[in-house]
């Protein structure tokens, strides 16, 4: 390539450093835990049934989330209506909801005395019961459909509008357009979205337990929990964490094997005009309203519970909200910088190298928060007082946890830019500065805006990992929420949840909107 040896070396060092950080976060922490215990522990029969259930429920939840997301995201992309943008933002809310709050919201709608049961009782029918495998999957779809929808929507919007124009002018019907234009895009986008959601469901245990109806719903994460807390069997916790890595690697590998279609072809950065959107309007509106009802009703229940109590909240809520905001912004800055460094330095690399880097980043997602927290603690404790590192550690953890989502969005975007425009740079002998400022960043503006928003919103809610680093002076919104719940104050906790969700959504909206403004593509 036209680059100097120095530039290549720099790229190697930079990407190497980020990958090293990602490996420390996943394998490093597990190894630290194992070394504190007596090496990796052995697993027993009960652990294997937990592993089986975990994989099964994650598989079903991920498949369902992605399948439902296809028609929903297509409808949202194709139709324009008043409040579309606001709806898309709002539909993202369940993904950033603290799990505990989300589960209570779901139960207010689908529970034994939820709205639906009450309605059924009113018509003389029985209650519905969601407890069991059905409940686990329903809850996981509720939390993850928003992410799947957004990722696919991103894919749909990335298809150059010209292709549809050409198709329209050639008189293609919608099936032909789906087959030739949309399906190749979906084949590229679905495996990534599927893997992310699969891993999220793999490590979630509050949901699996709360609506799983009993120890039948035991997941690997719960087994890790037990190993840690009651048995203090660190070796076993490390083994189970390794099993999670193993599942993660297998699934990520399978997803990689799916051949990616070559999505070449550039457009003139024009917005797509859907000439035949009206034909699908009815069906699309059914999908949109279906998803909206499913996702927004539980949110409404939370709002309903919390809004009335906002004024009863103590003054500390303000400090907590500012602290959370700061942590979210720092985490976001760290995450986006690292992700940009990695995607840009790997831009010239082969597709497989990029995939491996992304694969390493998703390892962090498959790791247990408890193992990560303990591992980091064990690494830091001999040297520094952990509480004094509360903010940097939180920022690091949030950044690492959010990295896979960001890379999922940024890496393909960078790849596409380099695929499509690199010849332009070479033929014009463009300097690096001009290339980055004029070509790359303007085209990345939208994916960056989206990912910044996502990281910021996610970092607002994160809590689990940092319990060991808790600084007595540092009060965040999620911490406040859990403490209120632990002190019987469920109503005030609901109010904090409303503040938390509003703040997260607001951050997401600002950045996403900022990326959209003046953006190309």
């Amino acid at each position: 390539m036209a680059d100097s040896v120095i530039a290549i070396t720099l790229r190697l060092i930079l990407s190497g450093a980020v990958i090293f950080a990602l490996l420390i976060f996943s394998f490093g922490t597990a190894a630290a835990v194992a070394s504190k215990g007596d090496g990796f522990g052995t697993l027993v029969l009960a652990d294997f049934s937990a592993i089986r259930f975990t994989i099964w429920q994650a598989l079903v939840s991920a498949i369902l989330s992605v399948c439902l997301a296809i028609p929903v995201s297509r409808a949202l992309w194709r139709q324009s209506f008043f409040g579309r943008r606001a709806l898309i933002t709002l539909l993202g809310a369940p993904f950033i909801l603290p799990v505990l709050v989300g589960v209570l919201g779901l139960l207010a709608v689908f529970g034994r005395s939820g709205w639906i049961s009450e309605l059924l009782l009113f018509f003389g029918l029985g209650r519905i019961s969601i407890y069991g495998a059905f409940g686990v999957i329903l809850a996981h779809v509720f939390f993850n459909l928003p992410l799947a929808t957004r990722l696919l929507l991103q894919g749909w919007s990335a298809v150059p509008g010209e292709r549809f124009r050409v198709a329209d002018s050639l008189g293609s019907n919608s099936w032909a357009k789906f087959l030739l234009i949309e399906w190749p895009m979906l084949r590229g986008a679905i495996p990534g979205a599927f893997v992310l959601i699969f891993l999220l469901c793999l490590t979630s245990f509050t949901v699996a337990l709360a609506v799983g109806g009993g120890p039948k719903g035991t997941t690997i994460e719960l087994a890790i929990y037990q190993a840690f807390r009651f048995d203090f069997d660190l070796g076993k916790a490390a083994s189970l964490a390794t099993v999670q890595f193993g599942i993660c690697v297998t699934v990520a590998f399978l997803a990689c094997v799916v051949p990616l279609p070559k999505l070449g072809g550039i457009g003139l950065d024009r917005l797509v005009l859907q000439f035949d959107a009206w034909k699908h309007r009815k069906l699309d509106l059914i999908w949109i309203s279906g998803a909206a009802v499913f996702l927004i009703l539980p949110l409404a229940a939370i709002l309903f519970r919390g809004l009335g109590n906002i004024l009863t909240l103590p003054g500390q809520v303000l400090t907590a909200s500012i602290t959370s905001l700061l942590i979210a912004l720092i985490s976001t800055a760290v995450c986006i910088c690292l992700a940009l460094v990695l995607s840009l330095s790997l831009a010239y690399s082969r597709l497989n190298t990029q995939k491996i880097a992304e694969g390493i980043s998703i390892l962090g997602l498959s790791t247990s928060p408890l193992v990560v927290g303990t591992g980091l603690f064990l690494m830091i404790f001999p040297f520094v007082h952990p509480a004094s590192l509360a903010i940097p550690v939180t920022a690091f953890v949030n950044a690492m946890m959010a990295m896979p989502f960001v890379l999922r969005v940024l890496m393909p975007a960078v790849r596409e830019i380099y695929n499509d425009y690199l010849h332009l740079r070479l033929s014009l002998n463009m300097g690096r500065g001009v290339w980055l400022m004029r070509i790359v960043f303007p085209r990345l503006r939208r994916p960056i805006g989206f990912s910044v928003g996502l990281v910021a919103a996610l970092s607002m809610g994160d809590f689990g990992v940092i319990a060991l680093f808790s600084d007595p002076e540092l009060q965040t919104l999620p911490l406040m929420l859990y403490r209120l719940m632990g002190a019987y104050r469920m109503d005030q906790a609901a109010a904090v949840a409303v503040v938390l969700v509003a703040q997260s959504l607001f951050l997401f909206w600002i950045f996403d909107q900022g990326g959209r403004r003046h953006s190309i593509s």
Partner: protein, 325 residues
């Protein structure tokens, strides 16, 4: 020049802080929260100790013990407050605790005699329900009824483990049978107390595993007397929460002073309406209006820490077998 004096001032201030001895207490999270006993305890102790009391929340009771084990003898903590009787044996086994003997007129049923740990509050596990709803008076009746209950998982939650011990203490060899029959009453099993209690308040179940003192919260703090608990004739299992002094402490005198303060009237008066548990030593003003009565010693079930530790594995297996069918 002004900058210089400012910097000097900062140094002096930090020197002054360094001169004040710091007592670090690790405890569970809800103890230090703004709604727990923490803030009042801190103010009261600092008023008499000329020290800086730092209370660090470290998750819940089980997470607290893991934290202590992780840190080992290098821990910054001087006192660990909030381990319960089910975890005491495990805490003892760490060898990190120092024997202390704090004499007080303990109100803990069955008395208190332990070389290492000092109790600060205690309670009974119970099924909390709405006033006027159908009720039962023991586990057999509960299992035979159509009542729906939410419980906590004994693998992740202290009350969950307490329930396991409760059934074992009341039914011994028949515990397996009780769990088999209870299976269809259990709506779901949650990871922690908060989810379970929240679900109960949302109307997801008729009863929730909590404490006999839970209704007192609603009566005293919310003027809501719609909650009560089901009195079980086989008795209620107890949870005694204790504190211990770490051998590695660099403030042994101050730690002793804190433990004495912990069983004093000032501390004990704070407990009932902040931690919603029975104080280990009844305060001079008695228990607040709305608090339940303590049961007779015979109805106060509890295993010794070593028995509890020995029974846990089998009890857990029984529970898992019954509920996994």
């Amino acid at each position: 020049m002004r900058n210089l004096s400012l910097i000097a001032g900062l140094f002096l201030a930090s020197a002054a802080v360094a001169d004040t001895p710091v007592l670090t207490v690790y405890t569970y999270d809800s103890f230090v929260s703004d709604w727990g006993p923490g803030p009042a305890v801190e103010a009261a102790f600092e008023a008499q100790c000329a020290c800086d009391l730092q209370m660090v929340g470290a998750g819940d009771g089980a997470a607290l013990l893991s934290r202590v084990k992780l840190e080992g003898s290098r821990s910054e903590a001087d006192i660990v407050l909030g381990i319960d009787t089910n975890l005491m044996a495990a805490a003892m086994d760490t060898g990190l605790f120092e024997p202390v003997s704090i004499v007080a007129d303990y109100a803990v049923p069955g008395g208190w005699d332990d070389k290492f740990f000092t109790p600060f509050d205690w309670g009974y596990f119970a099924f909390v329900q709405n006033v006027g709803a159908e009720t039962v008076t023991n586990f057999r009746e509960l299992a035979a009824s159509d009542l729906k209950i939410v419980i906590q998982d004994p693998r992740s939650s202290t009350p969950g483990l307490g329930l396991l011990m409760w059934v074992k203490a009341a039914y011994g060899a028949d515990a397996q049978e009780i769990w088999n029959d209870l299976d269809d009453n259990i709506v779901t099993v949650t990871a922690g107390w908060s989810e379970a209690y929240g679900m109960f308040l949302e109307g997801e179940a008729d009863m929730v595993l909590s404490y006999t003192t839970s209704p007192a919260y609603h009566i005293i703090a919310e003027q809501d007397d719609s909650k009560t608990f089901a009195v079980f004739d086989e008795g209620h299992y107890m949870q005694v929460e204790v504190a211990g002094k770490l051998s590695s402490t660099d403030q042994p005198m101050l730690a002793d002073q804190f433990l004495k303060f912990m069983v004093s009237n000032v501390f004990q008066e704070i407990i009932p309406t902040t931690n919603w548990m029975f104080p280990a030593v009844t305060p001079m003003t008695g228990l607040p209006e709305g608090f339940p009565k303590a049961l007779s010693t015979k109805k106060s079930l509890i295993f010794s820490p070593s028995d509890a530790a020995a029974l846990r594995k089998d009890a857990l297996l029984e529970w898992q077998t019954a509920l996994s069918q």
